[in-house]
């Protein structure tokens, strides 16, 4: 009788846990529509982790560099760990998280988020943090990033955060209940459409151009983490015309890099050398590069990586090459699909 009672309790508990798990999966955003960036962070965990180069940062990395080109042209095995409006502090934790799985030779960090110091926004926090696997690093990242109205418990049990979506469910929520399609190409967000950069505004004058010491602290932490792990850190400023990159910021970042012996490349200043044409190579008027622009930039930057970082050409590694061949198929499929949609006016 007693055993029967415990069995009933066990079955009830299992039923409750299973339904809660299922509901949580159902209401969590799938990011399979217009906004796909929320999937980038989680996709990393499904890859083989023996990358030579890891890119860390916000949209300045995941929309401007194509790992496929770096492989095709230079045999560099790379991955981009970036998400929308990823703060400098979050980049630190994303790097720390990456180091739990692999130690790349080179980390490329986009510096745009350092002076911008934008206040955290819940939706962007979620896109960066929800996809991270649970670890102390994720815990710390949440604690550091949370806005005032956010609660830790809602990260631990996302059902508490997303419960209100129960009345807004779409077909996607059921289609992708147990798995989602791949949306990035080793973290790269492909866009083939083009919108020329016209009348890009100058930056408005600021009262103070000094980069916040707290923000510089995160850059320093990233540097120290790379140093501790014997990783070469490369700082980059992507060639986006906007948000505006002030000369004063450039000087401070360049001075920091110089004082620590770090390579710093301002690709915005090198946009002509990279062959970028802002009439055809951007899909949103100069904020981000499209596929054509990203491929040009990757060719240019890949050469730099190979020359200055001494990265070996790994195209002869058959297993790795096979993986990239598969990546290339999906890369081409995505490109053709987008080109078709543009042609069809969808």
């Amino acid at each position: 009788m007693r055993a029967k009672k415990w069995l009933a309790v066990g079955v009830a508990a299992l039923f409750i846990l299973a339904t809660l798990w299922l509901l949580q999966r159902l209401v969590m955003p799938k990011y399979m529509g217009d906004v796909v960036e929320g999937n980038f962070m989680a996709e990393y965990y499904d890859t083989e982790k023996d990358h030579d180069v890891i890119f860390i940062g916000d949209c300045e990395v995941y929309e401007n560099f194509s790992p496929q080109v770096l492989w095709d042209e230079y045999g560099i095995n790379s991955y981009i760990r970036g998400s929308a409006q990823q703060l400098a502090s979050q980049s630190y934790y994303v790097l720390e998280d990456t180091l739990r799985y692999e130690k790349p030779d080179v980390v490329v960090f986009s510096v745009l988020a350092v002076p911008y110091n934008e206040p955290a926004k819940e939706s962007y926090n979620r896109m960066t943090l929800d996809g991270m696997r649970w670890s102390k690093t994720k815990w710390d990242a949440i604690q550091t990033s949370m806005t005032e109205e956010e609660q830790l418990l809602e990260y631990i049990f996302p059902l508490l955060r997303y419960h209100s979506r129960i009345t807004e469910l779409t077909k996607d929520d059921f289609t992708y209940l147990f798995g989602r399609d791949l949306v990035s190409h080793n973290g790269y967000y492909m866009r083939v459409d083009a919108r020329p950069a016209e009348n890009v505004p100058d930056g408005r004058p600021l009262a103070d151009y000094t980069i916040d010491a707290g923000q510089m602290e995160w850059l320093e932490k990233i540097r120290l983490l790379c140093e501790e792990n014997g990783i070469k850190l490369v700082l980059v400023k992507a060639p986006s015309l906007y948000p505006y990159w002030y000369d004063e910021w450039e000087e401070q970042i360049a001075a920091y890099a110089e004082s620590h012996g770090l390579p710093y490349i301002n690709l915005l200043a090198l946009k002509d050398a990279a062959g970028l044409d802002y009439r055809t190579d951007t899909y949103d008027g100069g904020l981000h590069l499209n596929l054509a622009g990203a491929e040009k930039l990757s060719r240019y930057f890949g050469a730099y990586l190979r020359e200055t970082c001494g990265l070996a050409d790994r195209r002869a590694e058959s297993a790795l090459a096979a993986r990239w061949e598969e990546n290339a198929r999906w890369y081409d499929e995505d490109r053709i699909r987008q080109e078709y949609e543009i042609a069809a006016g969808e």
């Binding site: 509901l23 508490l160 129960i166």
Partner: protein
């Protein structure tokens, strides 16, 4: 810490476990520590206020008790030489001194409440009278539950003065009575005689009591989060722009507010009583399905019962049985005004109660008007009693008629909702304007042309609200028939019980208006 926050749930859960792990003798100490911790969460600076009230109450009660002890000892030692008259004189002198302590404590306790809650209201009205600038004079935030614990300590002191029980000699035990955290937020207002027995007695773990308590909490969360907080969006739209949302919208706002007020307040009370029940502590009921009332008088026997009883015992009776008023009534009777003599004690006591009830609800004229209107209409309906009696004599089947009963219930609900508009809108003139608009600009089409979707509530929101209200209505109906829904569910087979309570839990979890994106609204009665 709101009682619908995650922190409260964690706090309550941890306390519940600790409570039953603690030896019974020390359970009250744990409750005291938890109550002060809870209070400190709402703002550590507020601890001073509740401590001052507790200390003042303790000193006064000890002094009153000491005088009583002294009197008893005096009578014992001098029983052979004191005659009845001596004893009477001595008793009167002791009572006088006790009264002095009572008044001193009440002035002090109510003084804190008056300055913090009503100081700015009084100063601004005086300023307006003299055309002076109308700035906030006292920049003091309202400590959590100040009205509730002030009323509770007042009841304790008056009962003590009346000799209904002896004073609590242990300061910390008295502190628990004043600060017991579940009821600190929005009541119910308990009496020392009943609550002290519950608080200080140790409680063994009783699975059924704990389960019933948690179930009641869940039902409270359902009322508060699924109904009250969801309807809030529509309410805010209407009251935020009363010039646009007139006529039918004002009517909709009136109904929404009546629903919101009840679901918010009674939901909170369910959480409080349920949690106390899980601790083995029985608190008095505060509601008895008020919207099933057939008259205004009946409504006030069902709504905020502990406050109404408090006013009856500590305001109405002392005023209506005061020697001066009784003497005046006697004079009127002698002069041949028997009717007036009979009424004057009741009327003055009643109007005083409703004036204070209005003031208690908030430091604003609209609350005072609301209180006096309630009092006025109660007296009016009392005056109309002979007419009703005549009507029932003419149609003897009418009182038993189901249709007539429903008409009376609906009429009372609409009337109560109408009066509550004084609470809903920002001030009395806006309220009167909205009331007038309900008559002159009423447009039935608003219910059918999709206009209601412009109030910040979607069709899904309306659907959830409707279904939820149907559920509450069904449960209330069962309760009105004397059926305990929890008992009925408890009698079902295990899987049915699990499905019912888990289903309700899922409703709260999924359809509750909580978390980011929703305005984490505090309980309406917190502010009192």
């Amino acid at each position: 810490m709101s009682i619908t926050s995650y922190y409260f749930l964690l706090f309550a859960g941890a306390l519940l476990i600790l409570y039953y792990l603690t030896p019974k003798k020390a359970q009250w100490i744990l409750l005291l520590a938890a109550s002060y911790a809870f209070y400190a969460f709402s703002g550590i600076r507020y601890l001073g206020y509740i401590l001052a009230t507790t200390l003042c109450t303790y000193v006064a009660s000890r002094k009153m008790g000491g005088l009583k002890d002294y009197q008893e000892a005096f009578f014992r030692e001098n029983k052979d030489i004191l005659d009845r008259e001596d004893k009477k004189l001595y008793k009167a002198s002791v009572k006088k001194r006790q009264r002095a302590w009572l008044i001193l404590a009440l002035v002090f306790n109510f003084g804190i409440l008056a300055v913090i809650k009503y100081g700015n209201f009084v100063v601004s009205n005086i300023s307006a009278l003299f055309g002076a600038p109308n700035d906030a004079f006292f920049r003091l935030a309202l400590p959590l539950g100040i009205s509730f614990y002030t009323f509770q300590t007042t009841g304790y002191l008056i009962d003590l003065y009346r000799g209904e029980y002896r004073e609590e000699k242990n300061f910390f035990r008295l502190s628990l009575f004043v600060s017991f955290f579940p009821q600190l937020i929005q009541g119910p207002i308990s009496r020392f005689g009943a609550l002290s027995k519950e608080l200080y007695a140790g409680h063994d773990f009783d699975g059924r009591q704990v389960a019933f308590g948690l179930q009641r909490m869940l039902y409270g969360f359902f009322k508060k989060l699924v109904i009250a907080d969801r309807i809030m969006a529509g309410l805010a739209t209407i009251s935020g722009d009363p010039a646009t949302y007139t006529g039918t919208y004002a009517f909709v706002g009136m109904i929404f507010y009546a629903i919101d007020l009840y679901m918010d307040f009674s939901g909170g009370i369910d959480i409080v009583i349920g949690f106390s029940q899980a601790l083995g502590i029985t608190l008095p009921e505060n509601f008895k399905r008020p919207y099933f009332a057939v008259s205004l008088k009946d409504y006030w026997h069902r709504w905020h019962i502990t406050l109404c009883n408090w006013f009856k015992d500590y305001v109405f009776y002392p005023i209506s049985t005061s020697p001066k008023l009784l003497a005046r009534a006697k004079k009127l009777k002698t002069a041949g005004h028997a009717g007036l003599a009979r009424r004057i004690t009741v009327y003055i006591g009643n109007l005083a109660v409703w004036l204070f009830t209005g003031i208690w609800h908030g430091a604003a004229w609209n609350f005072i008007i609301w209180g006096l209107l309630n009092g006025g209409f109660l007296l009016l309906s009392q005056e109309m009693e002979p007419l009703y009696r005549k009507l029932y004599a003419r149609f003897p089947k009418l009182p038993e008629s189901r249709v007539f009963h429903i008409v009376r219930v609906v009429r009372t609900f609409l009337f109560v909702s109408l009066l509550c508009m004084f609470d809903y809108y920002a001030n009395a003139s806006v309220t009167l304007h909205a009331m007038a608009g309900m008559v002159t600009e009423f447009d039935l089409a608003v219910f059918f042309n999709g206009s209601l979707l412009s109030l910040g509530l979607s069709a899904v929101d309306y659907g959830i609200l409707l279904l939820s209200l149907c559920l509450v209505f069904f449960i209330s109906l069962q309760q009105e028939r004397g059926i305990s829904v929890r008992e009925k569910i408890a009698a079902q087979a295990g899987p049915v019980r699990v499905l019912v309570w888990y289903g309700l839990f899922l409703c709260v979890l999924l359809f509750g208006a909580y978390g980011i994106g929703y305005d984490a609204s505090q309980f309406i009665y917190n502010q009192f």
